[in-house]
Symmetry: C2
Subunit: 396 residues, 2 copies
């Protein structure tokens, strides 16, 4: 169902971009899968396989004979061809029939979601196309794939909302589990149990999903939860999401652990947290179609540096979809590793995280991550934004 919806969407994107056909060329996708395959096939394919969509609306899948029936069952392709010995002959027949002037394939220097074609498969493809005199017609499908991923359909947004709902529910449950003396690893294990009870999966590698950090000088993002214990006076944060029917959430929450006698956080902690909330709000209002991600990142970054904090050493936000890090356009600064991503114009329907962070001396990190959809008048919250510091009350 979703695959038929995305294949239809792809035809329109090809017409819009003036590209005649888009070819996804993969093998043994269980080992090294092209991220676009999830929109084109229901599961993995074994031998050299080509999924071909043309701007004229015609669609082919050429797969090993043993994979044929599973692909036919999708009902997304006019023709499904199963071969036994090799793909070259049926593939060239299809290309000759189509005779496309512009052929987009899945490689990109700048965008990993559009870079699923391996170099060995690229060499094979060039070899095939040169036999048909078409090797000069190849180009990157980055724009096709970016549009396909970022223009979330109603069915995709529904799945993401459910992923967000489950995530917020687990955040609600873990709040009752937090107390001084618990270790980061114990908190993570509690959340992982709740993920399994909910019948979903972690949105990324389980060793860092959830990531849990407590107190000052913690291990830092992307590191597994440790045996460090929650203590009064700590800022405690978590980065966590789930994958529901193939679609992800990605949210962060910050808690303050009250000291004996305290009824609220110290001013320095509150000021850090409020600065994060303000930075997110400024970014959310800037998030409109046509704006570049670097402008949105700058709004949040300047909010933080002008309040006297050091700037966060990462992008403000990334797209979310089938992966927690998904899509080409990025809300980030002009750093080498982000390539052209911060300069892509935003489109309605993109889903972004907003996740600035800052250190509060002696307490830990203040960081919130919300998820928003780009709309004509600014970002629309897909998750419930954290606007108040959450409190963990003392042990005994």
């Amino acid at each position: 169902m979703l695959i038929r919806e995305k294949v239809e969407q792809a035809k329109g994107i090809l017409r819009e971009l003036g590209v005649d056909c888009w070819i996804t060329f993969v093998r043994e996708s269980g080992l090294c899968g092209d991220p676009s395959l999830a929109f084109l096939a229901g599961g993995d394919v074994t031998w050299h396989s080509a999924f071909i969509i043309s701007s004229s609306g015609r669609t082919w899948a050429i797969v090993g004979e043993y994979d044929r029936r599973s692909v036919e069952d999708l009902g997304a392709y006019d023709r499904v061809i199963g071969y036994v010995e090799g793909i070259q002959k049926p593939f060239l027949e299809c290309l000759k029939e189509l005779d496309p002037a512009r052929i987009a394939v899945n490689f990109s220097r700048d965008s990993e979601i559009a870079d699923g074609l391996t170099h060995g498969m690229y060499l094979t493809l060039v070899d095939f196309l040169s036999r048909a005199g078409m090797e000069g017609r190849l180009e990157s499908a980055e724009k096709v794939i970016s549009a396909l991923r970022q223009r979330k359909t109603a069915a995709e947004l529904e799945r993401m909302k459910e992923a967000v709902r489950i995530t917020e529910d687990i955040y609600g449950q873990v709040a009752g589990f937090l107390r001084p003396g618990r270790t980061e690893a114990e908190i993570a294990a509690f959340m992982t149990r709740k993920v399994k009870e909910a019948g979903v999966a972690a949105a990324w590698d389980e060793s860092t999903c959830p990531a849990v950090f407590t107190g000052p000088q913690h291990a830092g993002a992307h590191y597994s939860p440790t045996d460090r214990r929650v203590e009064p006076g700590h800022l405690l944060n978590m980065d966590f999401g789930v994958r529901y029917e193939g679609y992800c959430s990605d949210l962060q929450r910050t808690f303050y652990v009250l000291r004996p006698g305290e009824t609220r956080a110290p001013d320095a902690v509150q000021r850090g947290f409020d600065t994060i909330v303000e930075a997110i709000e400024r970014a959310r209002r800037k998030l409109r179609p046509g704006v570049q991600g670097i402008e949105v990142d700058r709004a949040a970054r300047e909010c933080i540096t002008s309040a006297g904090y050091e700037e966060f050493p990462h992008a403000l936000g990334h797209q979310v979809g089938r992966f927690a890090h998904d899509g080409t356009a990025l809300l980030g600064p002009a750093w080498e590793k982000y390539a052209s991503k911060p300069f892509q114009p935003l489109e309605e329907g993109m889903v972004f995280t907003l996740e600035p962070r800052l250190p509060v001396e002696g307490h830990g990190t203040a960081t919130v991550e919300n998820m928003v959809v780009v709309r004509p008048d600014g970002g629309e919250n897909l998750s419930t934004p954290q606007e108040e510091l959450l409190y963990v009350r003392g042990g005994e």
Copy 2:
């Protein structure tokens, strides 16, 4: 531990092949991971990352700052460099220090396990190397990676034996569940529950692991179990494996469903089954270091065709390791899709499946899949070979 063992092994392989350094170059490996990364890092990496092993024994990992500590903790690299803005500078510094004459990277037309470098990342790499005047030094790491994967260490073989033990245990349990009237889908669901109870994962995509086929004209390999019911007179087969601590098993079993009054299978069924067992035995005896896979495949294939059956439309067997389909050398015929794989000489320590099949008119498919390790005097069974037809007794 395993990673340190494999990194050490890689240094020796580089010396043996005269390659000066091997570079695995990846980003966002959760989206599109290089199959070699599992031997080099404990989990996924986010930004452009380079894992560099030199024949002189020096090892570097250059990763995004947030991934640095996880990689340091492996204890497998002399130097772990974390960067914030971009990889180019530390990467080129490392390459200049090393000045390798032959640089192997992960692309291959013929072998998917050695083809983890995407084309976009290849272009970036060539660009970096050309700035150091080294772009002409690149070559395929196919031989390095093939050797690394196929030379199973003791720790790897132990994990595979445990995966086999769990698989055979589940086959034992499902035998008691089989009876006329059960559907393929019910049988698969029973096995999937047992996989979860054992705390392991399916060895490949759960929709076809296990694959369950009953009776004549079933849906065919790589197709999900259907609502077709087991009936007396059917040959019933299953293709199934588990992944235990990152290592897989892959085994098939064939059952015959006795008709009322029958105490053994009809002669045609028994003869088909015995032909499979004989074909496997002939192949097992041929499985020695230095032999080509095509010779082993031929021994089994001719055993089947000379008994009057049609040849199986696939290779006799593939390597198993971190994936159910793993490694470059293949026991297969000279078909286009297998490229050079059937011509690679076998090495001691490789683990192969042996899985011929044949149709028995009116009953279904006879097929057995065993796992064997290549030894100097022939294949050594890693699994318990199925040498007798298993019986399913009548319903009431």
